[in-house]
Amino acid sequence: MTTVRDLLILLISSSLVSNVVLSQFLGLCPFLGVSRKTNTAAGMGVAVIFVITLASAVAGIIYQYVLTPLGIEYLQTIVFILVIAALVQFVEMFLRKFVPALYQALGVYLPLITTNCAVLGVALTNVQKEYGILTGIVNGFATAVGFTIAIIILAGIREKIAYNDIPKPFQGMPIVLLTAGLMAIAFCGFSGLL
């Protein structure tokens, strides 16, 4: 059985030490695309936390109670991607109908998450590392928190960079990638935490 201590260690290692964007390169597209303003970045981050946590729970349950008993674990990739796509749609419909306030806040970001590779990545990592359902959910949550931390920091830096005089070929993506690289160096420092 996993203890609370194990879960706390997992929480720190998934969110900071092996940060999903800066050391695993998952979810890079929204990380670079939706990080122009801090408030949109925060909105995206919260939506990602919501969806990844839910998706890792659903994927874990399906893997353990449907795929494993039937002996068709090899179908995981196909099943997970369809489940995630369907899940995002259902969450969107559900929120629109029953929690309009939350929908107002997250609605725009939800459709953007369907093809976010971090969602599928977390579901597959949970299976590969043989996490149980609870551990999987914690891992998903921690990964998404790591994404949110990274995207908000990047957005903050980008708001400042906007006023700088950058050489022309480096304007736009290159400078953002350099920033992300420096952030990745900084996040390497967390490896001493555990």
Binding site: C29, I78, I81, L82, A85, Q89, T114, L124, G172
Partner: protein, 271 residues
């Protein structure tokens, strides 16, 4: 056969997915720690791309327009699973080195992009060669980036020591930050080529900036109609009566070009 050659040239040079269109950046960064990994990932992607293009093209008259994206995803995911099982059986070292990035080929923009923009509207043989060409273009790009990173980071190429002994490897290039730096250099170079070309009055619009946008919003050629709700345009969220697995991409008009990132910057900042 001429057409097949043209498709290969198109994928390798004219519309090279990495260097020209900047698609599929996640695997590009993640697996290019060495030339071998880059080559392996490239060839794996090529196999999936060629087969999925062939099948989607063969089934293009059967797949209904409305559910084509889920259908594509199922076809692509099936081939990814087949390839993954083959790798596990015959090349397990490579499978371990690439890890979770093999199943993640499913969400690679290049594959869905080619299915949407080429295979769904062209005959099977041309689509097959389009897939092979695009895949080889991707392979060449990944191998090049892998060589650069391995050379600077470890002083080796394909595991063979080539640099003189006085060379101290810059370890950071095989670590995560190095990937960002190499890609930054690459995009800067691409921007430079674009600026020079524009000054000479050449048409540079086919050079995309790919996944610098969100994948679903990525509007350059490869991703064509794969356009979701763009934050930049501030549109209202999609209608709820759509079926669950169905994507919203088809509401978007195809071929709407976002020519330059800076234009989007401006429109966003006005809000």
């Amino acid at each position: 056969m001429n057409r097949a050659g043209e498709r290969l040239y198109n994928g390798l040079v004219k519309e090279n997915p990495t260097f020209v269109m900047m698609l599929g950046m996640c695997p590009t960064l993640a697996v290019t720690t060495s030339a071998m990994n880059g080559l392996g990932m490239g060839l794996t992607t090529t196999a999936v791309l060629a087969m999925s293009n062939l099948f989607i093209s063969a089934l293009r008259k059967i797949i209904p327009e409305r559910v084509r994206i889920p259908a594509f995803i199922v076809i692509i995911a099936s081939f990814v699973t087949i390839v993954q099982l083959l790798l596990q059986a015959y090349l397990n070292d490579l499978n371990k080195a690439l890890g979770v990035y093999i199943p993640l080929i499913v969400v690679n923009c290049i594959i869905l992009g080619r299915a949407e923009s080429f295979a769904y509207s062209n005959p099977p043989i041309a689509s097959l060669f389009d897939g092979i060409g695009m895949g080889l273009g991707f392979t060449v790009a990944l191998t090049c980036i892998g060589i650069v990173r391995e050379l600077l980071g470890a002083g080796e190429i394909f595991g063979v020591h080539v640099m003189p002994d006085s060379f101290t490897p810059i370890g950071i290039f095989v670590l995560a930050p190095g990937a960002f730096f190499v890609l930054a250099g690459l995009t800067a170079l691409q921007n430079y080529v674009k600026i020079i070309g524009a000054r000479k009055g050449k048409d540079m619009s086919r050079i995309g900036s790919g996944c610098s946008q969100d994948c679903m919003n990525c509007d350059v050629k490869g991703c064509g109609k794969r356009k979701g709700k763009s934050l930049d345009e501030g549109k209202k969220p999609p209608k709820p009566e759509k079926a669950a697995g169905e994507d919203k991409k088809e509401e978007q008009e195809p071929g709407m070009e976002i020519p330059d990132l800076r234009i989007i910057d401006l429109t966003k900042d006005k809000k």
